[in-house]
Symmetry: C2
């Protein structure tokens, strides 16, 4: 299994603090040694850093943890390979373009028997179940909406419907962003918090690093952090319910919809 880290903000913010803790789990305080990656949106552009090395040893991860790249949407991933070998093309997050926007996707879970028929508009480069899910989601979005990107809520409800169609085939925690908003699906385990005024001090779980956000922020700043497991030990992280799909926009959890097949909840 893997771990996910996402950030969605109302102003461009760097993720150095959270990433420093997350990075330790890639071979240091955690077992996710099989590569790591992080994607930053800056406007419509995206920067993607990928490395099949453990993040705790990676010169590129070291740069990323120290070099403040300000972004409103970030997705990061550390990998413990369960499906697909340890290779660059199997390293998350994955990136594709749809509707003139980059889309970034990272997955934690397993969908080992998910081999959808794809029409060639998005084809996996590597051999992970995760990239197959991503290609299938984008193909379905394009098929549904043609050449025009729908609004955020329409995207959320369409992603819910698509997720429902495949969620019973495995474990599907994922983060997905088009640079405007961030979708987070919890099929098993995912947490989040929103930092907003009054800002206070946060202390990492995985390294003895403390930050006083009140010194670094302006009163209207708002930052949502989504992570497989809480990154700090003195803040309140919300445990996202299994079978929920969330829309984060402008640093807030704007909407949450259920993705349980009706039968599984006994309704």
């Amino acid at each position: 299994m893997c771990e996910l880290l996402g950030m969605n903000c109302n102003v461009p913010t760097d993720i150095c603090f959270s990433f420093s803790g997350f990075q330790q789990r890639g071979g240091g305080t955690g077992v996710h040694r099989d590569g790591w990656g992080i994607a930053f949106f800056e406007g419509k552009g995206a920067r993607l850093f990928l490395d099949p090395e453990p993040s705790v040893n990676s010169a590129i991860a070291q740069l990323v943890s120290q070099y403040p790249i300000r972004s409103r949407n970030v997705i990061a991933h550390i990998r413990k390979a369960t499906h697909g070998s340890v290779r660059l093309e199997n390293t998350h997050p994955f990136m594709r373009e749809l509707w003139g926007h980059h889309w970034i996707f990272a997955h934690n879970g397993k969908m080992p028997d998910f081999y959808p028929e794809l029409n060639g508009s998005f084809t996996p480069v590597g051999d992970t179940d995760s990239e197959r899910v991503f290609c299938w989601l984008l193909e379905n979005l394009r098929t549904r909406f043609g050449q025009i990107m729908p609004d955020r809520l329409t995207l959320l409800h369409t992603l819910r419907e698509l997720t429902l169609r495949i969620a019973d085939q495995g474990i599907l925690n994922f983060l997905l962003s088009n640079g405007d908003c961030l979708f987070a699906h919890c099929s098993e385990r995912l947490h989040y918090l929103v930092r907003r005024a009054p800002f206070s001090v946060a202390h990492l779980k995985d390294q003895d690093i403390t930050v006083d956000f009140s010194e670094l922020t302006r009163p209207n700043d708002r930052v949502a952090i989504i992570a497989t497991l809480p990154l700090t030990d003195n803040e309140t992280w919300l445990n996202m319910a299994a079978g929920t799909l969330w829309l984060f926009y402008d640093g807030e959890a704007v909407e949450c919809v259920e993705t349980h097949p009706a039968g599984r909840l006994g309704r």
Copy 2:
């Protein structure tokens, strides 16, 4: 205008030496201050480093010039913006997936009136003429060959035909790679050399750095370097003729075809 740098090799090779010289031209010895980028293929995977900052000042460029990433196909670009603002989404190289392979493209030149009708399969994210050319090339390749990637020579001749259709609309020096081979189009200015045994000493033009390749190579290594302007001052660079499209594979210029509209050569 911009400058291009490409590398195609028969064994994974790092580009630290050539990139160190190239990097200086992005705001140091050259005027190309409007961003830079570099893409490395490793197997089917690709790493793309992009920065809208001048390469000479960039912490990421510094890392790339010192961190040996071994690759058989590399494309780099330093930008002097002529069309499209200085933003991350306008920074070359551009990346898309086609046929389950990443494709990387960088352009030097200008195609200011090139606004093709696109069917939505590849849509520019930024507003450069270069990304429009890239999307148009990939759309045409997919339309022509459906879901199966043709062989290298078929790709070369198809790219020649496509380039011929648009070459009279501007200046179109480009590098394009799918990780297997590298295509280089010279509409105006491009040079290359092949380093092979017996290897000797090379000295950069833009920095006082010398490398003795005989100490770093094995007898069968073969590395083609393609650059807008020669990067070293003690090696023989071949001046590629205007109106030629080249296929580089395994560190050699395998094939070269003309891309002059027949009329322009007076045939």
